[in-house]
Symmetry: C2
Subunit: 203 residues, 2 copies
DNA sequence: ATGTTAACAGACCGGTCGGTCAAGTCAAGC
DNA sequence: GCTTGACTTGACCGACCGGTCTGTTAACAT
């Protein structure tokens, strides 16, 4: 069934290219024609794999969420490191990622999910929900980490669910600010303060 | 010189309409034709006042920044309230603003500056710089508040400059998350934790 | 060999994009 | 009353948008 190709799979090639372009620019700014050219694919082939641009974006989100979960998120969160140090590790990872991207492209791309969320969540409820789900997953990683920190006594008891959300919000906000300044160092400067965020238990 | 008109000034009408549309949707998604229709203005008139769509956006940013500075920011920050309570006041103001917008339009618009920053700061350095300046101003409001909190003894000494940036980042992040969930209450839930953010003085 | 079908090619579509322009309106200054 | 210049009108432009359509190719099973 699966066609064996010497080079990368066409669908994958489209996906990879589209991800990078959406990430580095924006959803609306990148045209299908442009994506096809970059992926060396014809329009007809594109629409063979993706019903619409929107569906491509959804696929990109899923794809990126996967890579993310198995990539640096897993790395940052599933360590044998003490819980709170994982947060520092994650901030560091975010910094180096954005830094290297900025060095390559000359500008900080920021967070693909945050970018897309602000750009299209007012116009497309399906995409908004999908992005929301990605954030929920990320928040869960934070929550687990916080739970462990509390049970290990490294942290006084708190509302781990809400605090996890707060930390995710802070991370996104820091990346937003860093992108606006086009300076990854902002992440290094502000990032570590993520550990000071606290939302007490409501009782 | 100035032409007196019974109804609102044409330029102002364009500005107001464009602001709302950019805020509620996105820069790329709103066309000039659409803006003209909503403002009951002809294309030619539009280009009489604004050299380009980009220049309109810049004007919108300035306009909004002004309104913001003289509106709820001034209200939230220049009170006779104790410094730390101003932060709560500001969170509250943000919540009610987003809430009423969501009730009217059915969706949370989020922060115009944050939205624009993520959408175009990778493509237009001038706009990026302008948005950055707006953020700098906002950060200054936070810093002054923190300075007062420290001198009044309400807060232990800390790096007010960096902490102010952190708070701004957190605010933007919270709004981003709330917009993605399309639920203003997220602001109420996460917002108050802004007071827990701390970046110590480097010495 | 032949029929089937996924994969790919590329011309083509109506519509919309941001932006231009020539023509005209009208009130103020001389 | 004539000129000036800000303002308005609406037709028009080429480029590009997302998406469709008709074919062609090549790897399969039969």
């Amino acid at each position: 069934m699966k066609r064996m190709t010497l080079e990368t799979d066409t669908r994958t090639r489209i996906l990879v290219v589209a991800r990078d372009m959406f990430h580095g620019r924006s959803y609306a700014d990148v045209g299908i024609q442009e994506i096809c050219e970059a992926a060396r694919v014809q329009k007809g082939s594109f629409y063979h794999f993706f019903p619409s641009k929107r569906d491509l974006a959804l696929a990109v989100i899923d794809d990126m969420a996967d890579d993310w979960a198995h990539g640096f998120v897993a790395e940052a969160f599933d360590q044998g490191l003490p819980p709170l140090e994982r947060l520092d590790y994650m901030i560091d990872a975010a910094y180096y990622w954005q830094k290297s991207a900025a060095d390559l492209e000359g500008r900080m791309p920021g967070c693909l999910f945050g970018n897309l969320a602000l750009e299209i969540s007012t116009r497309d409820d399906v995409m908004r929900a999908r992005l929301n789900a990605v954030f929920d997953k990320a928040r869960d990683k934070f929550r687990v980490t916080l739970d462990q920190a509390v049970t290990s006594g490294a942290l006084a008891a708190l509302n781990t669910e809400a605090t996890a959300s707060a930390m995710l919000a802070y991370l996104e906000g820091v990346i937003l600010l860093a992108k606006t300044r086009n300076d990854p160092q902002v992440i290094q400067l502000l990032g570590p303060a993520i550990k000071t965020l606290r939302i007490e238990m409501s009782h």
